[in-house]
């Protein structure tokens, strides 16, 4: 993992079928990609899903001219 990774949490949950579900919290956008690389060493990744926050973009097109960030606080 990169030393520059921002503070974040990973929640690893054991599923009834023995698989582990990993959720990344605290990082939006492609920045979370690098922090999960090591999880692939645990076994076969059978599902790798990016949520809407992964695609979050900074936008300045709101009428008030504020900078909006998906998933952030207004």
């Amino acid at each position: 993992m990169s030393k520059k990774a921002p503070p974040h949490r990973i929640i690893l949950t054991l599923q009834p079928d023995g698989t582990m579900k990993a959720k990344v919290e605290g990082i939006t956008g492609p920045g979370c990609q690098g922090v999960t690389d090591w999880l692939h060493d645990l076994g076969e990744v059978v599902e790798d899903r990016k949520t809407a926050e992964f695609y979050s973009m900074v936008s300045t097109d709101d009428k008030a001219g504020r900078t909006l960030k998906a998933g952030g606080t207004w």
């Binding site: 993992m1 990774a5 503070p7 974040h8 949490r9 990973i10 929640i11 690893l12 949950t13 054991l14 599923q15 023995g18 698989t19 582990m20 579900k21 990993a22 959720k23 990344v24 919290e25 990082i27 939006t28 956008g29 979370c32 990609q33 922090v35 999960t36 090591w38 999880l39 692939h40 060493d41 645990l42 076994g43 076969e44 990744v45 059978v46 599902e47 790798d48 899903r49 990016k50 949520t51 926050e53 992964f54 979050s56 998933g71």
Partner: protein, 138 residues
């Protein structure tokens, strides 16, 4: 959260598998054996079977008319469970198989997360089993 993964854990580490067997053996009250070169499993009738394994729970630990249960390393480095189809219907045998699988997954994830610099906080269910790890990096 911006991403999630589902991971099927592979059993590859002998020390972590041994630790998982030690933990589950204590909780479910069974002894186990480690034979680095492998040893034949014994069937319910007392005869040696063709199958061998490096980690073995003997049939007497599993209840009446059981066969030995084993974990055998495969050419690809992964351990596979060696269990007779008859024993796959037995609650105790499959309970051991599943609990060892889960304990291994938690043990390996804990070890690798710490190596990555995470603070690891285990979360237990009502039965005292660790079912979740919170990994934090600040």
């Amino acid at each position: 959260m911006s991403k999630y993964l589902i991971i099927e854990t592979n059993i590859t580490s002998e020390p972590i598998l041994a630790a998982a067997l030690e933990q589950v053996g204590w909780e479910m009250n069974f002894a186990w054996e480690h034979h680095p070169e492998g040893q034949p499993l014994v069937g319910y009738e007392g005869r040696q079977r063709r199958e061998t394994a490096e980690f073995i729970v003997r049939r007497r630990q599993l209840g009446g008319a059981s066969n030995d249960l084993g974990w055998k390393r495969q050419p690809d480095g992964k351990f596979k469970v060696v269990v007779s189809s008859f024993d796959m219907g037995k609650q105790r045998t499959m309970g051991i198989v599943n609990e060892v699988r889960d304990a291994y997954a938690i043990g390996e994830a804990t070890q690798k997360a710490k190596a990555q610099g995470y603070t690891v906080t285990p979360v237990k269910n009502d039965q005292g089993k660790v079912v979740q790890l919170t990994l934090a990096r600040y």
